[in-house]
Amino acid sequence: MSAKSASTVTAFPVKSSAPAAPVVAAPVVAAPVVALEIKPVRRFKLDAAVAATARNILPPLVVICCLLAVWQVAFSEPGASLPPPSVVWTESRDLIVNPFYDFGSADIGLGWRVLTSLERVAYGFGLAAIAGVIVGAIIGQSVWAMRGLDPLFQVLRTVPPLAWLPLSLAAFRDANPSAIFVIFITSIWPIIINTAVGVRNIPQDYRNVAQVLRLNPLEFFFKIMVPSAAPYIFTGLRIGVGLSWLAIVAAEMLTGGVGIGFFIWDAWNSSRLSDIIVALAYIGITGFILDKLVAAIGRIVTRGTSAA
């Protein structure tokens, strides 16, 4: 922070002194020479940054525009089965323009609905992350636990998320905890399995160091196991968060209440196809952000680990 602000502070006097220097008697001060050297460097960096952004942003933008154009042409004749982009825009403009409006309990912006769904994901995925890392660590450490539990996990992880819903509704007798449980049970398997692999791959050297230092199991868990297995753990978390976002939308369609999944089901029942298309975009973008978020946290946490 301080270095950044310091650089902008020095940049300002340099900028202002450059045009000022020719007005005042020129040969007196040597400062303009310095300003000329600095200025081009800064502009170059800005140019490079703009160019890099353009390189990354422009292609997807072009592709999206092309797809929208094709879509518009394909569905614009009267009686088409799906609305074209122009109709989506006119029918659902309030949903697109303002994600956070609130006109009473049933008529709220999609931003609020996404946040409600995210809250469920936060509970379910948070619990799955904690439980998954602990169970994965145990399985990775103990050959016996692995042999006993691995076949069970391999079978359970193939059960589709919604297949758990009736059972959890029966067990919890309430929609909200059931939805959270479905997220939990869906996202925990990749976390367990990846953590177990990560723990099994802890180099013997690190284990030897821990033994010589006589680290107790808790110290070993936090000081050796978690940092060493972190890249694997974050791979599992990333898969897990993607799965939980898949599961919540499906679960909400069945459990009802507030949430982006139920919104889609509700819109389908009242034939608001445009709203569904907008909701799909919201879901996709949110899922994308979730994935990048977990990946970014992973990158920060595992800074040193991968470079041995």
Binding site: N208, V209, V212, L213, R214, E219, I224, S228, R303
Partner: protein, 265 residues
């Protein structure tokens, strides 16, 4: 006077399935306090297994390791190990790597400020204080090994075990580190046991050289005293008669009487 470190009739065999391989048999050795002992032998003769037995990282099949008359059967900071490939934790800085050991070993006996001073003192000892905030990936192989030595020394071990500490380093860096180890040994007078396959290194550093026969069931073939005065200077020793004689003795043992044969396993 009881022996400082005593290896008494050590046997070690590994069993996998129905086949049992005897690695070490009948190892007897007494090491005095402050002594520098090298263990040399061809690869696969069980040198590292012997060091792991002393460290407690591997359990003996029969026999006993006694340190100050107490049996050793589990690893502990009183027998710190400098591992061949430094084994620094890559997610910790140099300082944190050493501090991990110091915080554990001196948790109750030193205050926080004392522990900090002790970490810096040990980094100073290996001339690595300047890189305290670097991560292992940012420093060279020789520097990593220096930090590994600092971490081991910081535990204030009764015996410092070095497992081919310079094996992965280039010749120049190796010479620097050998000098550093000699300097530390002179200053702290601690007991050190070093595994090596380098004859010059063994003669230069050791008070005694333990020569192992080839496996399986390797034994101590011979123990050679190195009666060279300390401090030793590698350049002066290059033409020293005693040095050359010791060197010759080790070479003869390794290449005449116990030539390395590729095992047919």
């Amino acid at each position: 006077m009881p022996a400082y470190l005593k290896l008494d009739r050590l046997d070690k065999s590994f069993t996998r399935g129905t086949t049992t391989t005897e690695v070490l048999s009948g190892i007897n050795l007494i090491i005095d306090e402050g002594e520098f002992v090298s263990i040399i032998g061809h690869s696969g003769c069980g040198k590292s297994t012997l060091l792991n037995l002393i460290a407690g990282l591997t359990q003996v099949t029969s026999g006993v390791v006694l340190l100050e008359d107490k049996e050793v059967n589990a690893p502990g900071p009183d027998r710190a190990v400098v591992f061949q490939n430094h084994s620094l934790l890559p997610w910790l800085t140099v300082y944190e790597n050493v501090n991990l050991a110091v915080a554990k070993v001196f948790a109750s006996t030193k205050t926080k400020a004392e522990r900090h001073d002790w970490v810096m003192r040990n980094l100073d000892l290996v001339q690595m204080a300047h890189a305290a905030d670097k991560r292992p990936s940012e420093i060279s192989g020789g520097m990593k090994q220096r930090v590994g030595i600092a971490r081991a020394l910081a535990m204030e071990p009764k015996v410092l075990l070095l497992d081919e500490p310079f094996g992965a380093l280039d010749a120049l860096t190796r010479a620097h580190l050998q000098d550093a180890v000699m300097d530390i040994h002179a200053r702290l007078a601690n007991t050190m046991i070093m595994i090596t396959h380098d004859v010059d290194e063994a003669v230069l550093l050791s008070d005694r050289i333990v020569m192992m026969t080839n496996g399986p069931a390797a034994r101590i073939g011979e123990v050679l005293d190195v009666p060279l005065a300390r401090p030793r200077k590698r350049i002066e020793l290059a033409s020293d008669r005693t040095y050359l004689k010791c060197r010759e003795a080790v070479l003869k043992f390794l290449y005449e009487r116990h030539r390395f044969v590729e095992a047919a396993e």
